[in-house]
């Protein structure tokens, strides 16, 4: 059973600098939310404020009906019943795996503790490692101990601070899938902090992109990727090309590459602006007088990726038709396939 978490206008300053600035956030039952942002955007500070490891200078944090923090009250971290998983796992080096997992189990009989530890070890498939010490485990095993320890005492909320950044790229996504399954099994809400959009896409139910101490946009990964509300979100989640455009109606846009048709209505009265087009919605075509210059090409197995320059922007565009091959220095033009366009007005 987990409760809903509300952050209402949270602010935190380091000296003069506002690291978290009037931030509001909502997390539903059994939801995995990812706080995604570049380093220094305030995401870890927000996580620590939720855990109670630092006290916001302003704002209210509520878990279900309980107020964790406002101007008058502050619940100490040890009384919040939250699970936390750290970037370096923070396993206690002087305790065995079993003792690490049992660390948060209080007011329980010895038998119940033992049973709970066994249950958690089974959950993370580490039954054989109960009596080992953290330094005797691999990175992935340590991580599974950390998640078992954080879940053992049935926290009302699980917080994860960049938990995958120390894991090799090859096994990272397998681990992400494993941990996601464990969290979903335990029916616990979780907030997960990362700067990697790939991890966020693989792990989260909802994404909240953070920028300069604020939530720039919150929604499902698909919504944010396809319908970013701001250039910051659009650029953070993937590359693209800005093309000047005039809006004819809600579905048609004039550009110098012809009329682009949108599959979804774009509302708003502003006529002039820019389309932000993802590389997979672009097609390169040979054109002596085109505005696109090929800078370099590289073969990545299934296709070529061309690095091109258009209107002073540089962009990588994949091309998977083997009959089309361009040379560095060659001039090209672009056609834009019909898609649900992103139209940004100034």
């Amino acid at each position: 059973m987990t409760a809903q978490l509300h952050l209402d206008k949270i602010s935190f300053n380091y000296g003069e600098r506002a690291v978290v600035d009037n931030l509001s956030l909502h997390l539903g039952d059994n939801e995995i939310l990812c706080l995604l942002g570049a380093s220094g955007c305030g995401k870890t500070t927000t996580l620590k404020a939720i855990a109670g490891l630092l006290r916001p200078h302003q704002g209210v944090i509520r878990l279900g009906e309980t107020i964790l923090c406002d101007d008058n009250q502050f619940v100490a971290p040890q009384h919040r019943n939250m699970g936390m998983m750290f970037q370096d796992y923070a396993l206690f080096p002087h305790l065995s795996v079993a003792d690490n997992i049992a660390f948060g189990l209080k007011a329980m009989t010895r038998v119940n503790k033992t049973n709970r530890v066994k249950e958690m070890l089974a959950l993370v498939h580490l039954e054989d490692c109960a009596h080992r010490y953290p330094h005797q485990l691999s990175g992935g095993q340590q991580q599974r101990v950390a998640i078992a320890r954080a879940l053992a005492y049935k926290p009302s909320l699980l917080l994860l601070d960049e938990p995958f950044s120390n894991i090799d790229h090859q096994v990272r996504f397998q681990l992400i899938a494993d941990i996601r399954r464990i969290i979903k099994d335990q029916r616990v809400s979780a907030i997960f902090v990362t700067h990697s959009k790939e991890e966020a896409f693989a792990f989260a139910d909802t994404l909240a992109v953070m920028h300069q101490g604020k939530i720039a946009q919150q929604g499902t990964p698909q919504q944010l990727f396809h319908h970013p509300r701001s250039k910051v979100v659009a650029e953070f989640l993937g590359t693209g090309l800005y093309i000047d455009a005039q809006k004819q109606d809600d579905y048609h846009f004039d550009t110098q590459f012809g009329v682009v048709k949108s599959q979804q209505a774009v509302e708003g009265s502003e006529k002039s602006g820019q389309l932000y087009v993802r590389p997979h919605d672009l097609q390169l075509i040979a054109d002596e007088s085109g505005p696109v210059t090929v800078l370099s090409k590289r073969f990545v197995g299934t296709e070529y990726v061309y690095r091109v320059r258009v209107f002073g922007q540089e962009l990588e565009v994949p091309v998977n038709q083997p009959e089309q091959e361009f040379l560095p220095g060659q001039k090209l033009s672009i056609t834009i396939t019909s898609h649900a366009v992103n139209f940004f007005t100034a």
Binding site: K48, L53, A76, Q78, M84, D88, G104
Partner: protein
């Protein structure tokens, strides 16, 4: 990170410790600014300037001679390959374990008119009386400089050696490819790059040289330390003693500024992450022989000869030296040292943990204040400790006098004074050692423990202390050993009829009867060897 809750008790403990342990220095500074027309003016008009001159000459001489010994040795051991290099790289540290009064005694004994060297010379050349030949007198300022340099040079040796190993060999190799000889590249590259380290080490050596009481007292060379001692025991004037101490504080202050400044400068240079153990130059033939001979000579003179002589005494006089006095004083020293190390550890744990709970510039102050006692020379420390204790005693006695219950010298006349002084003096060792162990524990362990429902106090006992066990033991051991060796403060503060092992040995040194305390003397040397292992290890592990 900020904890705005339940801080008050940690804060109270930390600030009480900080203020309590800095009380002596505060009183000393205050008292040294008071006027004391009689004793101090008299000293000022007569001998004080000689004492200041001697002190400064002593410091400069020891610093210079240490450079002459330690710089070539450090360079040889860091960069050259020659027979015995491995052995010398640690063995040349050993003299640090030798108390200066022991080495001074041994060489006085050897070079005296009645000593074996002069007897042998007279026999060989047929001289009859002192008028027939010239022989140096070791019991002079010059002799004291040599004795002190022989036991203090290892600080510079160790620091310089490590600094050289931190520099990339490629720098020296590049200099040589550009046409410099090894000696030229030493002066153009290695020496300038190590400037900060050298200055820091020389500042440290200067402080130790100024603090020395035993050697200058034994050689009857008057310096500021002996002046403090004599002023207290001769005139019983705390104010005059405090004023002389104030002069030493000024010198100390200059040395500390130099040390801090040099260290900061040194941090600018790029360091290697790993110490290089490969040799740049392989010495052969006469060069290799000269290197080994120089290192052997230093080791022989500074350590082996004194130890062998002491060992000889111990064998010849075993019946008299292995006696109940030795056991009694060893036991008394042990008790005091154990108590002081326990106190220093507990206090420093609490203060360092307070720093960790509230990482802000302000929370570093209790630890800094508590550590101020470390740089104080033993005699100065003793005077500084007496000031607040006697003030307190006077107040209590005045208050209780009407009821006929005046307790007398219940602080300054008891073991309390020595224990308090030792905690003031050696707190900094415990603090530094525990602070560095603490810094290796990831802060996320604290957060993990807190998020799992443990309070700050529970986290300290269930997470930090178990992890820190080794660091705590090391720190306790270092404090313990320093207490065992400490001499001047114990001489000034010990209660009537109380001796530590060190005061006991020094008593016999002064009475020219060290033979009778030779077992105790050897024991002090052996105890002093233990911290060298830790110093060496921490230097090697710094990276």
């Amino acid at each position: 990170m900020q904890f705005k809750f339940s801080l008050s008790s940690w804060q109270l403990i930390a600030w009480t410790t900080g203020l309590g342990l800095s009380l002596p220095l505060g009183f000393l500074i205050f008292e040294s600014l008071q006027s004391d027309p009689q004793v101090f003016t008299h000293l000022w008009n007569t001998v004080l300037w000689d004492y200041i001159g001697n002190t400064i000459l002593l410091i400069l001489g020891v610093a210079l001679l240490s450079c002459v010994i330690a710089l070539p040795l450090g360079w040889l051991v860091a960069y050259c390959d020659f027979p015995g290099k491995k052995l010398f790289s640690w063995a040349l540290m050993l003299p640090l374990a030798m108390p200066t009064y022991l080495i001074a005694y041994v060489y006085t004994d050897l070079f005296d008119y009645a000593g074996p060297v002069q007897i042998a010379l007279r026999d060989a050349f047929g001289w009859q009386s002192p008028d027939d030949y010239w022989f140096f007198d070791i019991r002079t300022l010059g002799g004291a400089i040599v004795m002190l340099a022989l036991v203090l040079y290892p600080y510079l040796f160790l620091i310089f050696k490590t600094a050289l190993k931190e520099q990339s060999h490629k720098l020296v190799q590049a200099a040589e490819i550009m046409g410099n000889t090894p000696v030229q590249s030493f002066f153009k590259i290695s020496l300038p790059l190590s400037q900060g380290a050298i200055a820091a080490a020389v500042a440290l050596i200067s402080m130790e040289a100024m603090a020395d009481f035993a050697t200058v007292s034994y050689f009857a060379v008057s310096t500021l330390t002996t002046a403090v001692y004599d002023t207290w025991f001769g005139y019983y004037s705390l104010t005059a003693a405090a004023k002389i101490s104030g002069i030493m504080l000024l010198i100390l202050f200059v040395a500390i500024i130099i040390e801090r400044y040099s260290r900061r400068n040194q941090a600018v240079f790029e360091r290697q992450t790993q110490l290089s153990d490969e040799s740049l130059y392989v010495l052969t033939g006469t060069k290799a022989f000269a290197a080994s001979a120089f290192a052997s000579l230093v080791l022989l003179v500074a350590f082996l000869v004194p130890v062998l002589v002491l060992g000889g005494y111990a064998i010849d006089y075993f019946e008299q030296a292995w006696n109940s006095e030795f056991f009694l004083y060893a036991w008394q020293s042990l008790k005091i040292s154990a108590l002081v190390s326990a106190l220093a550890i507990v206090l420093s744990l609490l203060v360092v943990y307070f720093q960790r709970l509230t990482p802000s510039p302000a929370s570093l102050w209790p630890g800094r204040l508590a550590s101020t006692g470390y740089a104080l020379p033993g005699t100065v420390l003793a005077i500084a400790v007496l000031l607040p204790l006697t003030t307190l005693e006077e107040g209590v006695n005045q208050w209780l006098e009407p009821y006929d219950k005046a307790p007398g010298l219940f602080l300054s006349g008891t073991l309390f004074a020595i224990i308090f002084a030792y905690v003031v003096r050696f707190y900094a060792i415990a603090h530094g050692s525990i602070e560095s162990s603490f810094s290796r524990i990831s802060p996320s362990l604290d957060m993990a423990s807190q998020s799992m429902g443990r309070s700050a106090r529970q986290t300290l006992t269930s997470v930090h202390i178990p992890i820190l066990k080794r660091g705590i033991l090391t720190a306790a051991l270092l404090v313990f050993i320093e207490c065992m060796k400490e001499l001047p403060a114990a001489l000034l503060l010990r209660p009537f009829n109380f001796e530590t092992l060190a005061t006991h040995v020094f008593q016999y040194v002064s009475d020219e009867q060290l033979e009778l305390a030779s077992v105790a003397a050897l024991f002090i040397v052996v105890v002093g060897l233990i911290p060298l292992y830790f110093i060496n290890r921490s230097m090697e592990q710094k990276h």
